[in-house]
Symmetry: C2
Subunit: 92 residues, 2 copies
């Protein structure tokens, strides 16, 4: 279930409010969603979560936070470790 | 205790290895440390934690992860919310 695109939002380079709005729309119909990001977008993921919680309080609360690192092959052929984060938001 | 500079490392603009080395040195004498960062440094904090865990495994494990947002007054006088993260690393 957690890999279902309906309940997971990947944070990229779009304006933050795009992700905040998607998250709130998802939370209207499902009780828990996960915000994921890698590398430099990790700080933006935390921003999105805080904005969602702020706008919806007290209906939703912070769930689990997980961090990990993934080994990717970069353009120059070297292995690079990229950190990632997963933050869940759930019904209070 | 958690505001004691000995057990808290704030992530800024120095090279990542500076923070990784400081963290490992602290962990040699105290059982738990906290890595903190704000805003764009949040992704770097996750990198530092992953590098410390990688270099010290299996002696240390990930502890609690907390996220928050702080209201700061920016240079133009407006209030801005800045996200922050605190990640602890402790003896396994």
């Amino acid at each position: 279930m957690s890999n279902n695109t309906n309940d997971t939002i990947f944070i990229g380079k779009k304006p933050l409010m795009t992700y905040v709005t998607s998250a709130i729309i998802q939370l209207a119909t499902i009780p828990i969603i996960t915000i994921k990001a890698r590398g430099l977008s990790i700080g933006r993921a935390v921003d999105v979560v805080q904005m969602v919680l702020n706008k919806t309080k007290p209906a939703f609360v912070l769930g689990d936070i997980k961090i990990d690192s993934e080994s990717l092959v970069s353009e120059d052929g070297k292995n690079r470790n990229v950190s990632s984060i997963e933050i869940s938001i759930k019904k209070a």
